[in-house]
């Protein structure tokens, strides 16, 4: 690995001025489980690394019934798998985090890191988008909030501007039921070949859908809202036929590529299978 300058600010303003000062040439390190591998492999060259692990209040995890959940960017994946708040209100996040990487990596890797890497296959992105998450981005110029689904711009590219830091993720109070299903050859230590999150707000019993959110991972340049599939489900009875129709729609509106992890045809097919199973699992 090449030599680099390493800063460990202890206040947010210090961190933001460091980022502003080295405008665009910095890497922000939190868990480092992804960044360090890239740096060691020479895939990412950074002269300045800003360690944000000492920043206060970036690992908050609070919930109230009116505002919903506030999740600091430094929250580790392991915390997601252990938090009673998450279990009670957003169990899908605990389930998702649980099948990411391994216990050792989950102890270091952060929610913010998973999102800022902007991998199309990031496991947390589909369920968070399905839950209606927003992200708070802060820089020395000020703070802004955008919906998470607008945060991803392309593979490895996010809406973060130079000098900007992901501070926290906010979720509205939970509505309906949410599931995330991941297809990968291994249970753990694997990347999603396809990930499908689905949230359904039921009407009365669990056979009618008032509103649905369908979000697909690893089948487009960014985690993808499957709007057509959502429209198929919204306001409809969840018959077998309807579910299959929504699954087909999702398979058609994604744009997977052929790569070493899977062929495009297979990924489309898995979108259909996982969406069908996802809906049934929360019915």
């Amino acid at each position: 690995m090449r030599p680099f300058n390493h800063f460990t600010p202890t206040t947010l303003s210090e961190a933001l001025s460091l980022l502003a000062e080295h405008n665009g040439k910095t890497s922000v390190i939190a868990g480092g489980t992804d960044l360090l591998l890239k740096m060691k492999a020479g895939l990412r060259k950074s002269n300045v690394v800003v360690n944000i692990k000492r920043l206060p209040n970036l690992n908050c995890l609070t919930f109230n019934a009116i505002d919903g959940l506030k999740l600091g960017a430094l929250t580790t994946l392991r915390e997601l798998t252990r938090s009673p708040i998450i279990f009670e209100h957003y169990p899908v996040l605990a389930q998702t985090a649980h099948i990411m990487a391994s216990e050792q990596i989950r102890s270091l890797a952060t929610v913010g890191g998973n999102l800022c890497n902007a991998a199309p296959s990031a496991d947390l992105a589909p369920p968070l988008i399905a839950l209606g998450a927003s992200v708070n981005l802060i820089s020395s110029a000020g703070e802004r909030r955008i919906p998470l689904e607008n945060f991803f711009v392309g593979p490895g590219k996010s809406a973060l501007q130079p000098g900007e830091l992901l501070k926290e993720i906010t979720l509205p109070p939970p509505v309906g039921k949410t599931a995330y299903l991941k297809h990968s050859p291994r249970v753990y230590m694997d990347i999603a070949i396809v990930g499908v999150a689905v949230r359904i707000q039921f009407e009365g019993d669990r056979f009618a859908c008032r509103e649905a959110r369908v979000v697909l991972g690893a089948v487009a340049p960014v985690p993808l809202r499957a709007h057509q599939s959502e429209d198929v489900l919204a306001g409809q009875n969840l018959t077998e036929e309807r579910i299959l129709q929504a699954a087909k729609a999702a398979g058609q509106e994604c744009s997977p590529i052929d790569d070493v992890r899977g062929a495009a045809w297979y990924r489309r097919r898995m979108v259909e299978v996982l969406l069908k199973r996802g809906i049934k699992s929360i019915q």
């Binding site: 649980h98 299903l181 297809h183 050859p185 694997d190 070493v260 899977g262 299978v273």
Partner: protein, 778 residues
């Protein structure tokens, strides 16, 4: 007297490894040690026109830069077709230049400052292209003027007769992929020259004495100037069976720099510059009579051996053994063409051709059983190898528990819940409180099946070289402490523990009184190397002979002191007693001291040399008894196939292995389970995806090994047949664990969904594609 053999003795090095105290190659640090890195070719086939190293040399911290100008004028390797640095690159793993610097990062940076001018040449990435008329020659210097390295042709019986006698004939074509050892520890070497120009090499090799010879050829110095010190090894699995360019390169670097040099592979390099198991394209035909008797087997295969010849080109010898001698087959033909391409080099890997051939032979056995409407186990047992027989290939089978292995796994299969809806298998995600299980499977789409496969493996050495020998000495000191110095090599398989058990039992001392030295060519006697599941059998016999020699010396002295005859004595727990009069006793330490402290005294130093009564195969017919004993095994796999995703989950693997006698049952189980882990990966997830000579998944994310979370329940059952030649009746077991696994799983998939998979690994995508194809054609 306590038995030491047959006991579940923990490995001698287990606690050092578990606590991180063991010294691996990566841990070696010498005063003044420098670090080397290698620049590899940008093209799979190219002429190097010019190399500009000036900028690299000027980088602060760089000691020297090496290119083909630093090569000695010698070719090395099995095919004598390789050299340290190339002036013509024949694959993307070809070494073009090397940098020595004060730290590895500076060396890495310097590599980027080297400018190479290439003239790309047409490259060949398949055997078919390589054998086409007018194909460019990968080694134009070869006399044959062909890209065919070697063509193996084996026959026994009369194939025509076999066909005529057949009531059923089946045929299929199979493809097996490149896979690699994926050792936990990447390749590493430290080289140091002393003032006498003697080279010491700290190495992860499996062949210390052959490496001395190979290095002496590569460097143009005498083997007597080379000392190999073997470190603790984080996995080998056949990787260390050949010399690779990085080893002479490290020596050249150390000589040029005048300081010790460490050359350690990155994980990426381990994938791209290490050897792989050779891919095979094969067509197999086989027949049987309606009563279930096998009639013939006909195999035709093509192997891509890559740009240079390593042991990959010799694996047909083992493939032909499986084809000719796994089960009793009267008429057999086997052909294998080994072809040069601009692809990866292929080397030895656990099983050495056997995982490939057992996959196609044992799946064709299943097809035959089906065509005959016979139970697959009954069909196999009917044709199984039997004790005290000679196969038409000339293998002399003495002890043989093949039938018992098959019947044992079959008996355990019945306990399974194949067609009943049993409780779901343990799913780790179910452990979570307050959350639904996150399994993507949906019960109606899950189909279960079971499948069987057997294996035959050399278990009494393998005469690949003119000698299959191993030397050992046993020394007893003043305190009764015993040192076994063995030529053999510990690579994590547990050989030093098993050898210590053999010596302790033979000599009558406790395990804690034994130290094993096995890592320094300046100290240990000669051995051919650790391969072919040979160490327990060959090194075990040598150690036993040395221990018997030492015991004779102890008894000779004890007899004088106890006023008895040597044949009246026995030894246990470090003491020698008169058999009929246990009160007359002394310690082994006392016997040793009395020899040391007297005029005309002697040390207690036993020696043993064991070279089994076997032959090299005939160079034209490939017949002959290559091993002094043969190991057998069988596996039953129970799988669950998700017909919507194509995902195959192995629920249970039952393994039965005839190991002659288990000197350490725990170590045997370790070998079987470790082998199964590799077999499961070969069957379902592991594949080096190679395009135009380039590995597209050179990392542990996309080269998918089975992790502990992916492993099914493994039941390992030991079958004992008491081999007449093995030490205490033992035979080798190192390679059998993973050999039949892919076939057993493929047969189980067929049982589950009625589809014969013909390509490994059987990934979800391939299985689903086969399911969809079947649905279309039906």
């Amino acid at each position: 007297m306590d038995q030491i053999i047959g006991q579940r003795v923990p490995k001698l090095d287990a606690s050092a490894k578990a606590t991180g105290k063991a010294t691996y190659g990566h841990d070696i640090r010498l005063p003044g040690m420098l670090h080397g890195r290698i620049l590899y070719s940008r093209y799979a086939h190219a002429k190097i026109l010019n190399i500009d190293t000036s900028r690299a040399k000027n980088l602060r911290g760089v000691k020297c830069v090496l290119t083909s100008a630093d090569n000695p004028s010698h070719l090395f390797g099995y095919g004598k077709d390789n050299k340290p640095f190339k002036d013509i690159a024949r694959s993307l793993r070809d070494e073009i230049a090397g940098v020595v610097a004060i730290d590895p990062d500076i060396a890495e940076e310097a590599l980027e400052l080297i400018t190479v001018e290439y003239e790309p040449l047409p490259a060949i990435f398949s055997p078919k292209e390589a054998l086409a008329e007018g194909a460019p020659l990968i080694h134009p210097e070869r006399k044959s003027q062909s890209n065919m390295f070697h063509s193996y042709r084996y026959t026994h019986g009369d194939l025509g007769q076999g066909e005529r006698e057949s009531d059923v004939v089946v045929e299929a074509s199979y493809t097996v992929p490149y896979v690699t050892h994926a050792c936990m520890e990447t390749s590493v070497v430290v080289a140091q020259f002393d003032l006498r120009d003697h080279l010491t090499l700290w190495s992860t090799t499996q062949i210390p004495f052959l490496l001395q010879r190979d290095l002496s050829e590569a460097l143009g110095i005498s083997g007597s100037q080379i000392r190999i010190i073997q470190t603790a090894v984080g996995g080998a699995f056949g990787r260390g069976l050949d010399i690779y360019p990085y080893e002479p390169i490290a020596a050249l670097m150390a000589r040029k720099a005048g300081q010790p040099v460490r050359l350690a592979f990155s994980r990426h390099e381990e994938f791209t510059a290490g050897p792989a198991r050779q891919p095979v394209e094969v067509t197999i035909r086989a027949g049987a009579k309606s009563d279930g008797t096998l009639t013939f087997r006909d195999v035709s295969s093509v192997l891509d051996v890559g740009a240079y010849i390593s042991w990959g080109s010799v694996t047909p010898l083992v493939m032909m053994e499986t084809t000719a001698s796994l089960y009793q087959v009267p008429h057999v033909r086997f052909q294998a063409d080994c072809v040069y391409t601009n692809n990866l080099i292929t080397g030895a890997m656990r099983g050495y051709g056997n995982p490939q051939s057992t996959f196609f032979v044992e799946t064709i056995m299943d097809r035959l059983a089906e065509a005959l409407k016979m139970d697959p186990v009954e069909f196999r047992v009917r044709n199984a190898n039997v004790p005290n027989s000679e196969t038409p290939q000339g293998l002399i089978i003495t002890s043989c528990g093949m039938k018992e292995c098959l019947e044992t796994v079959a008996a355990n299969a019945d306990q399974g819940a194949k067609h009943t809806s049993s409780a779901p298998v343990s799913d780790p995600t179910r452990n979570m409180a307050n959350s639904r299980p996150l399994i993507e499977e949906d019960p109606p789409h899950l189909k279960r099946g079971i499948g069987f496969a057997a294996t035959l493996n050399v278990g009494g050495g393998a005469r690949i070289y003119r000698s299959d020998g191993c030397g050992a000495t046993v020394k007893v000191d003043d305190f009764g402490h015993v040192t076994l110095i063995t030529g053999s090599t510990e690579i994590g398989q547990g050989s030093e523990t098993v050898l210590a058990q053999i010596v302790a039992q033979t000599l009558g001392v406790k395990m804690e009184d034994i130290t094993v030295l096995n890592s320094d060519t300046d100290i240990k006697p000669w051995d051919v190397g650790v391969h072919a599941s040979r160490t327990t059998f060959i090194a075990g016999n040598a150690a036993q002979l040395a221990a018997l020699d030492a015991r004779n010396q102890i008894f000779e002295t004890a007899a004088e002191l106890l006023k008895a005859k040597p044949e009246e004595l026995q030894s246990y727990d470090g003491s020698v007693t008169v058999k009929n009069d246990p009160a007359r006793s002394l310690t082994i330490a006392q016997a040793a001291r009395s020899r040391h402290f007297k005029e005309g005294g002697k040390v207690i130093l036993g020696e043993g040399w064991y070279d089994p009564p076997t032959k090299l195969v005939d160079k034209d017919t490939y017949k002959g008894n290559i091993s002094a004993a043969y190991g057998f095994g069988a596996q039953m796999a129970e799988v669950e196939v998700d017909t919507e995703t194509g995902k195959v989950r192995v629920l249970r693997l039952v393994c039965a292995n005839d190991v002659g006698f288990a000197i350490n049952p725990m170590a045997v189980e370790g070998q079987i389970e470790g082998g199964a882990q590799m077999g499961l990966g070969y069957a379902l997830t592991e594949e080096l995806i190679v395009k135009d000579g380039k590995i597209l998944n050179p990392d542990l994310l996309d080269y998918r090994l089975f992790t502990s979370a992916d492993m099914p329940e493994i039941k390992s059952i030991i079958v004992e047949t008491d081999d007449p030649t093995g030490p205490f009746g033992a035979k080798g077991v190192g390679e059998m664990g993973g050999t039949p696994t892919a076939a057993a799983i493929a047969n189980a998939i067929y049982d589950a969904i009625g589809i014969r998979m013909t390509q490994l690994p059987m990934t979800p995508e391939r299985v689903l594609a086969a399911i969809m194809q079947k649905e279309t054609t039906e």
